[in-house]
């Protein structure tokens, strides 16, 4: 368990995380605009990879092709893939989501699932169940060595491309008229329509941009792993969705942050021994306790109106909001029986349960510090992250508190 090992895992975690981010951006943009989980997005990603790989196979690129021609083929495959996949994204929105926009959200979700099934099976019927193999000649094989870690050129390309695309996306959303329309539509569709924004066009545009990003992601994945199978998109889609939720769905920066965290978590989770992983839990516990004992009560104290501010009252408020089991039990047993007291006590109990769980994980991991998860548990880790984040903080890291929309 050397430093190089950890660094190597970090680089591959960042690479995978960047790819997740490309897909997660599509999820989060569509969710931001329509409050719809675009379930077929994972399949759009696969289609993008398939189209690019098929174009390259038909171009007949091999080891003897000169470098400039290779780059030309590469660009051609990329452009064809982006155009066709964007069209597919637009088509999906037109067929499966637009007729249902006024219906309940569960209906739209069902339609999305149906669409995902259709796409996945069409893919098999057209291309066959075998994975499509990327021509190896197009994939750069070199690497640079930094601090004893081999970083492949491909990894650098993936991270660079992703960063570039995210920059472009940030410019579109923040700097162009269309981006302004997107933000307006996501805030309030009706009001945006009244202000003269073509919401239908804006939504179509969102789907097109999301699909284009996903198709590039599919291409990069196909290059990174050498092949792509028809059901790859389901797993990647779900993981990217996890990342989007982790960062706070609807928030573009959240999608990127969540993806990087998820990529790192996956790679560290199966690459490191439990003894090292336990430190992550300790770290989480320390941060959690800091927030619960120092920061949150401090904020409450800050809210006290000036005319009531006395040291005694400050101490009282601090005590009231310090989430400790003693306070919780005392509150539950106190003579005040109003709902507020009970809610805060319940909240305190829930937080303590979380702390105890973290501590228990850390202790168990320390006790088996030599054990290492087999790589087959990798997917279980990311699904576990998904469930945990949805249970304990559905708003994600950077998201606003999600309001129930009635």
């Amino acid at each position: 368990m050397t430093f190089e090992h950890v660094l190597g895992l970090t680089v591959s975690g960042l690479t995978v995380g960047m790819i997740y981010a490309l897909i997660a951006l599509g999820y989060t943009m569509v969710y931001g605009v329509l409050q719809l989980i675009n379930f077929a997005h994972g399949e759009v990603f696969t289609v993008g990879g398939y189209i690019a790989a098929t174009t390259l196979i038909y171009s007949g690129v091999d080891a003897s092709t000169p470098l400039m021609a290779k780059i030309g083929y590469f660009a051609l495959a990329l452009i064809i893939s982006i155009v066709l996949t964007s069209f597919l994204g637009w088509l999906i929105e037109r067929i499966a989501y637009r007729p249902l926009r006024k219906q309940s959200r569960i209906t739209a979700l069902l339609s999305a699932i149906g669409m995902s099934i259709v796409l996945q099976n069409l893919l098999v019927i057209i291309f066959g169940p075998e994975p499509v193999i990327m021509p190896t000649a197009i994939v750069p094989t070199g690497f640079v060595e930094v601090m004893g870690v081999r970083i492949r050129y491909l990894q650098i390309i993936i991270i660079g491309t992703s960063l570039l695309l995210m920059g472009i996306l940030a410019w579109i959303v923040k700097g162009t008229r269309m981006g302004k329309a997107m933000r307006a539509t996501s805030q309030d569709m009706e009001a945006a329509e009244m202000m003269g924004i073509e919401t239908n066009l804006t939504i179509s545009f969102t789907f097109i941009v999301g699909s284009a990003l996903a198709s590039i992601g599919g291409f990069l994945v196909a290059m990174y792993y050498g092949s792509l199978q028809y059901d790859t998109g389901f797993l990647y889609g779900l993981k990217a969705f996890t990342a989007a939720v982790l960062g706070g769905i609807g928030n573009i920066y959240g999608a990127v942050v969540g993806s990087l965290i998820l990529g790192l978590a996956e790679n560290w989770g199966v690459g490191l021994s439990l003894g090292l992983l336990a430190w992550l839990f300790v770290f989480g516990l320390v941060i959690g306790l800091y927030i619960q004992v120092v920061r949150a009560p401090g904020q409450r104290v800050g809210h006290i109106a000036d005319e009531f501010r006395t040291p005694e009252y400050e101490r009282l408020v601090r005590r009231q909001y310090q989430f400790t089991p003693v306070v919780a039990v005392k509150t539950l047993l106190s003579e005040r029986t109003d709902a507020l007291v009970h809610l805060s006590a319940k909240h305190a109990m829930r937080l303590m349960a979380g702390n105890i769980m973290l501590a228990a994980f850390a202790i168990v991991f320390f006790m088996n510090s030599e054990v290492q998860f087999a790589s087959k548990w990798q997917h279980v880790i990311s699904f576990g992250v998904l469930m945990a984040i949805l249970m304990f903080r559905p708003s994600g890291i950077l998201g606003d508190n999600i309001q129930e929309k009635v």
């Binding site: 209906t107 979700l109 069902l110 339609s111 779900l238 996890t242 087959k376 699904f383 998904l386 249970m391």
Partner: protein, 379 residues
């Protein structure tokens, strides 16, 4: 048009018991047809599988149809039931427990899982709940896939002993058909009674408007949890019998696809209607096979063997793909053009076939009728 209307009226006016008796009679005769060689064993096997799907669809209907919670990990409870049976009644670990004990344990374990997963997640909104349950389903399958000391991983558990019901050893497809039929009848009877009871109306009210029903005295958390736990129990039962019938299980029986198939069945049949769920399961499970037999056997036999040979081989090779393709298209078309399903429940029917907004409001109002003497709900 007139003929169609007349037939429709005939069906609508016929008393309900005629349908039930007819369906039961057909189901009871069905295995006998195989015994006397009228139909092939293939069809009996298909019928038995259909009954498993009927159980699952009826169970999921409780959550998806009655309570309006989109549950995408339903197959996980099915898997828990099946693996409980496989572990406790096979040479794998050397156990051979009694049938009734295993059925009870399978149902209890899947209900426990349903409770544990429902407790923290049912606070979430519709689409988030869908994703959490999906993740749960996948985690369950992967755990069974990776937990090799007990479940033998992807290899699966072979050689499950046939069940012994007080001396009656069930080991033929026809006998399993009757066993499953009995399970379906019991489950449908229980769920139908529950549906008509107070908790059933609480479920429907939650589906229509959670906040309004909360304010009318329904406890959302409890009611939802009960629905999820009961439906998990049904899935566990189905899983246990399925494992006995199949005599071999491995994780590929419990893919996410299975969950979506059951969701398709409930949506196709009509959410919130038990006859609809049954009908959806029967239609969706038998139609693809009928299509395959038509194009690869019956039509070639009637018209000549060279009837669309390319299509025949395609159907044979990629049958599962075409089946899922049909399911996907069906679900999209259904939610767009006929969201109430093939056999909608009464409320849906009234709502979707009246243009009068007052009438629609009345049907909503009807949900919140409170029986006399039951107002003190929040004790």
């Amino acid at each position: 048009m007139a003929v169609r209307e007349r037939i429709g009226n005939m069906f609508r006016r016929a008393p309900r018991w005629t349908f039930i008796v007819t369906a039961l009679a057909l189901a009871l005769i069905f295995p006998l047809l195989e015994q006397y060689g009228i139909i092939e064993t293939l069809w009996l096997r298909l019928g038995t599988r259909t009954l498993v799907y009927v159980l699952l669809a009826v169970g999921l209907n409780l959550v998806l149809g009655e309570t309006g919670l989109l549950h995408l990990g339903y197959v996980a409870f099915f898997a828990v039931g099946a693996y409980t049976t496989a572990i406790l009644s096979s040479p794998r670990l050397g156990y051979h427990w009694n049938f009734w004990v295993i059925i009870a344990l399978a149902m209890f374990l899947s209900m426990l899982f349903g409770f544990l997963i429902g407790m923290p997640t049912l606070r979430l909104r519709g689409d988030y709940l869908a994703i959490v349950t999906l993740a749960f389903g996948e985690i369950t399958r992967m755990t069974f896939n990776n937990w090799e000391p007990v479940t033998n991983g992807p290899g699966g558990i072979p050689g499950i002993y046939p069940p012994n019901l007080f001396g009656w050893v069930v080991d033929k497809p026809g006998e399993f058909f009757y066993l499953l039929l009995a399970a379906v009848i019991v489950v449908v009877w229980l769920l139908n009674n529950l549906k008509a009871s107070r908790i059933g109306r609480a479920w429907n009210a939650l589906r229509e408007d959670e906040i309004a029903s909360h304010h009318s005295g329904v406890r959302p958390m409890q009611a939802k949890l009960l629905a999820v736990v009961l439906s998990s129990g049904v899935a566990g039962l189905a899983g246990a019998i399925f494992a006995y019938y199949q005599q071999f299980i491995n994780p590929t029986y419990f893919l996410f696809m299975q969950s979506t198939i059951v969701v398709c069945m409930v949506v196709l049949g009509g959410m919130g209607s038990i006859p609809g769920a049954i009908m959806g399961a029967v239609v969706l499970d038998t139609t693809p096979e009928l299509i395959r037999q038509t194009f690869t056997k019956w039509l070639p036999n009637a018209v000549g063997q060279d009837f669309l040979p390319g299509f025949q081989t395609a159907l044979q090779q990629d049958f599962d793909r075409y089946r899922m393709l049909i399911f996907g298209i069906a679900i999209v078309l259904m939610v767009i053009f006929r969201p109430e399903g093939l056999l909608p429940n009464k409320l849906w029917r009234r709502q979707s076939h009246t243009e009068d907004p007052r009438e629609q409001a009345n049907t909503r109002q009807h949900l919140f009728d409170v029986e006399e003497g039951t107002q003190d709900l929040e004790a």
